[in-house]
């Protein structure tokens, strides 16, 4: 089991429901209670912040005392939990004098944590920093002026600007200035496959050169008696990811960026056609696609029932955990057809909120997150790759090493739609609505107009 942003396995959903309910209740209570107080609170808060910053400024001169650092994240179990522990241990070793409070919020692919953070930001009581998707996902925060510029204080250190490629740097600047530090990258333009199955069916995945050509390959696979593409349609996000990769593979990074920037109408044919290709894919999904999770779908690759699988590269964590299921002999990976030379980004980052309870300690932590040491500790355990290109590869497995090479050599790093990097939360919600309708009726025209109004 991996602790990826989108894992929606049973236990996670259970948590989700419980914690989500509790979170909602807390939020409501916060709103209710805040009625009269909130305005006074916020003025008090900003007053506090000035004084804190002044004193901590003094502190940094003497460089002995830091305020306690509070870090919130949703890596509470599995790969993510182990990786987060490794990261925080590394930070403790470097800054033994900073008191660190970890305050994780489990569940809901981060939805619960996001609810907590929004509440705290609205009450002007942010944690020192928290796990957040960078990019447009942070737009509500920059719109409300809740994030601080850290270009000098953080990005000026550790040679970060040279070590990060353009895509991750762009994501760190949702409003044109640096406010966040990406820690890890999960690739989205993957096509995993079961080696035996494709060989048995006589298909060569490396020779599939476009998303539309994949349809023929899957037809061949189905003739050989396998499921073409292991996909789940129980919830819409997997289809959202898939459509984005089809658009990227068939029409390239520029059209993709243009569409996510809101120019859907100018690229109407590309959007319609890519939706139609996804519709054709749906003919090759397993029969029970509607009632399985992505892990169930991935199991069909492991069991040899299905040939192809599209998912973020957290899916490889399941292969690693499986005995006798080896990279390159049993399963293998190509970039999603048509996306060679591209590396679709799904990232986690740590932003710097204004009114920070521990400004100096937070900057120290963010500088650490942007360092080789932190990314080398965190990523092998998480099953992701570091956004820095100068991290030694020794600690990573063969699959991740190949991914790191692909990343270093990539021409462009498109930002993900489904994971909040390319579109703001309200557009993402509308996009998910569009995809949820799409997987129930596969009505291309309706989905096109829903996407158009979502990205406007």
């Amino acid at each position: 089991m991996t602790d990826t942003p989108d894992s929606d396995d049973v236990s996670r959903r259970t948590y989700l429901k419980l914690a989500g309910g509790a979170g909602a209740a807390t939020f409501l209570a916060g709103c209710t209670g805040g009625g009269g107080e909130s305005t006074t609170e916020s003025t008090d808060g900003s007053g506090d912040s000035e004084s804190t910053e002044e004193t901590s400024g003094d502190d940094s001169d003497s460089s002995t005392e830091y305020n306690a650092l509070e870090v919130q994240h949703w890596w509470t179990g599995g790969d993510g939990g182990a990786a987060a522990q490794a990261l925080l241990e590394g930070f403790n070793e470097q800054y033994p004098d900073i008191e660190l409070t970890e305050n994780p919020v489990a569940g809901g692919a981060g939805q619960n944590l996001r609810a907590v953070i929004k509440k705290r930001i609205l009450n002007n009581d942010p944690p020192s920093t928290w796990q957040a998707w960078p990019g447009a996902n942070l737009q509500p925060f920059t719109d409300a002026d809740k994030l601080e510029d850290i270009e000098e204080s953080v990005w000026g250190h550790n040679d970060m600007k040279n070590a990060y490629l353009d895509g991750p740097q762009e994501a760190a600047q949702p409003a044109g200035n640096y406010v966040s530090v990406p820690l890890n990258i999960h690739r989205l333009n993957n096509l995993f496959y079961n080696v035996e199955v494709v060989e048995d069916a006589g298909v060569d995945p490396a020779s599939i050169d476009s998303p539309s050509a994949l349809v023929d390959a899957m037809a061949t696979v189905e003739e050989a008696g396998y499921v073409g593409m292991a996909q789940q349609t129980n919830s819409a996000w997997s289809t959202g990811q898939l459509w984005a990769q089809v658009l990227l593979g068939e029409y390239g990074a520029d059209v993709y960026a243009d569409v996510t920037a809101g120019n859907v109408e100018a690229n109407a044919d590309a959007v319609r056609d890519s939706l139609d290709i996804v519709k054709q894919y749906s003919e090759y999904y397993p029969n029970d696609a509607g009632s399985i999770s992505w892990q169930d779908a991935n199991s069909k690759i492991i069991s040899g029932d299905a040939a192809f699988f599209h998912q973020g590269d957290w899916a490889a964590g399941m292969y690693r955990a499986q005995d006798d299921f080896e990279y390159e002999t049993n399963w293998d990976h190509v970039a999603f057809p048509g996306t060679e030379g591209l590396y679709s980004l799904n990232m986690d980052s740590f932003p710097m909120p204004t009114n920070n309870p521990s400004p100096e300690a937070t900057k120290a932590f963010l500088r650490y997150v942007g360092s080789v040491d932190a990314q080398e500790r965190f990523n092998p355990k998480k099953g992701s790759i570091p956004p820095r290109t100068d991290v030694p590869q020794d600690a990573f497995g063969p699959f991740l090493q190949n991914q790191m090479d692909d990343f270093s050599n990539s021409e462009a790093q498109p930002l993900s739609i489904q994971h909040g990097l390319a579109v703001a939360p309200n557009a993402l919600t509308a996009f998910e609505d569009a995809m949820a309708s799409f997987i129930s009726s596969y009505d291309v025209e309706a989905a096109y107009s829903a996407i158009q109004s979502a990205f406007q």
């Binding site: 409501l28 129980n234 696609a289 939360p425």
Partner: protein
């Protein structure tokens, strides 16, 4: 409710005010001036003596807690729905900027109407079917069968399970390949009935020409309704069973002596006496239907798609995913009004019959 209580309190105060008690020092002090009629001391002391005040430690804490956390939260939610609260900036709460924009937005939002339609389909068919199923079970169990207690427990058991549990295992039940439902259908030779229960649809063909009948009929919402039905008809059964047990045996015997058939006996003699059970079970079931959020959320995440989206899932998405707090609040208020229209006639009916 609160005016009612207030009136009663005032009555009590008036009643208790005059008679002077002699069993307390303070009361004696008040009694000296009681004759003057309009005296602060005596009013205060009688206030202190009144039932309402003396029982305050018992009713006041829950009264305040409920008032603050339930009714306060509802009122606050209504206030938010009048603002433009979105994103991460608090609204100003200036009454001059309050408007109904969010409600206008809801009424012009196609998704809102889809969710409303689904909410009502769920509400009506779930409640109706649960009542029918519960009544059927209650009558069967009441026929003096063997192992009656066993059956009663078995039927009620699903009701004790959490939505989370039932949602997960119904997802397994509905699995096309390995689900129990399709496995059962295939084992009795009904392969052609086996369907993709959560994503499938059926073309209604010529029936589609009839008003209100869609061209394509999606199973998703009815798969949800069926699962909820399984969970809640046991509850309806228990309520009906209590109603049936309250009917004296004489009436069954009298009907039988008069030569009524079983069907006729139930229709003419027994069912009319189950009105109270029906109403109370229906209200509870309808409230559960409006709360089906948990079930859908566990089954499909926050976005079940247009074929099963209901107002509560839409409200959650708009507020917590899209940061459209005001819009989410407006949907919540509408949902609240729907719930109120469900409960209000019941409360009013009970009130008129003096049972409240």
């Amino acid at each position: 409710m609160s005016p009612h209580i207030l009136k009663r309190l005032l009555d009590r105060l008036r009643d208790d005010g005059q008679p002077v008690r002699t069993d307390g020092g303070t009361a004696a002090a008040g009694s000296e001036t009681a004759g003057s009629g309009f005296d602060l001391g005596s009013t205060l002391s009688s206030l202190r003596e009144s039932d309402a005040v003396r029982s305050a430690p018992f009713w006041l804490p829950p009264f305040l807690l409920m008032g603050f956390f339930v009714y306060g939260a509802i009122s606050w939610n209504i206030v938010i729905s009048f603002t433009d609260f979105g994103g991460l900036q608090l609204p100003t709460y200036d009454p001059s900027t309050f408007d109904l924009e969010m409600y206008r937005r809801a009424f012009s939002d196609g998704q809102f109407w889809i969710a409303t339609r689904n909410t009502f389909v769920l509400l009506i068919s779930f409640t109706g079917l649960s009542l029918a199923g519960g009544l059927g079970l209650a009558i069967l169990v009441d026929r003096g069968i063997r192992f009656e207690n066993w059956f009663r427990t078995i039927y009620l058991l699903p009701f004790s399970l959490s939505f989370v549990v039932t949602a997960v295992f119904w997802r397994w039940m509905y699995n096309f390949d390995s689900g129990l439902i399709n496995a059962f259908l295939r084992s009795i030779g009904l392969d052609f009935v086996a369907s993709k229960w959560l994503t499938g649809s059926i073309d209604t063909g010529a029936l589609g020409a009839i008003p209100l009948v869609p061209d394509t009929f999606y199973f998703k919402l009815f798969a949800v309704i069926f699962a909820l039905l399984w969970q809640f008809s046991g509850y309806a059964m228990v309520v009906y069973l209590a109603g049936l047990r309250a009917i004296p045996n004489d009436q069954y015997e009298a009907a039988r002596v008069d030569g009524a058939s079983i069907l006729r006996m139930y229709r003419r003699v027994i069912l009319p006496q189950l009105r109270a059970s029906t109403v109370s079970a229906a209200v509870v079931l309808m409230v559960f239907a409006l709360k089906a959020f948990d079930f859908l959320y566990v089954l499909f995440g926050s976005n079940p798609g247009p074929t099963a989206d209901i107002l509560s899932t839409m409200m959650y998405r708009q507020a917590f995913s899209a940061n459209q707090w005001a819009y989410g609040s407006a949907i919540a208020v509408i949902l609240f009004l729907v719930a109120l229209t469900v409960v209000a006639p019941y409360l009013y009916g009970e009130y008129r019959r003096g049972e409240l």
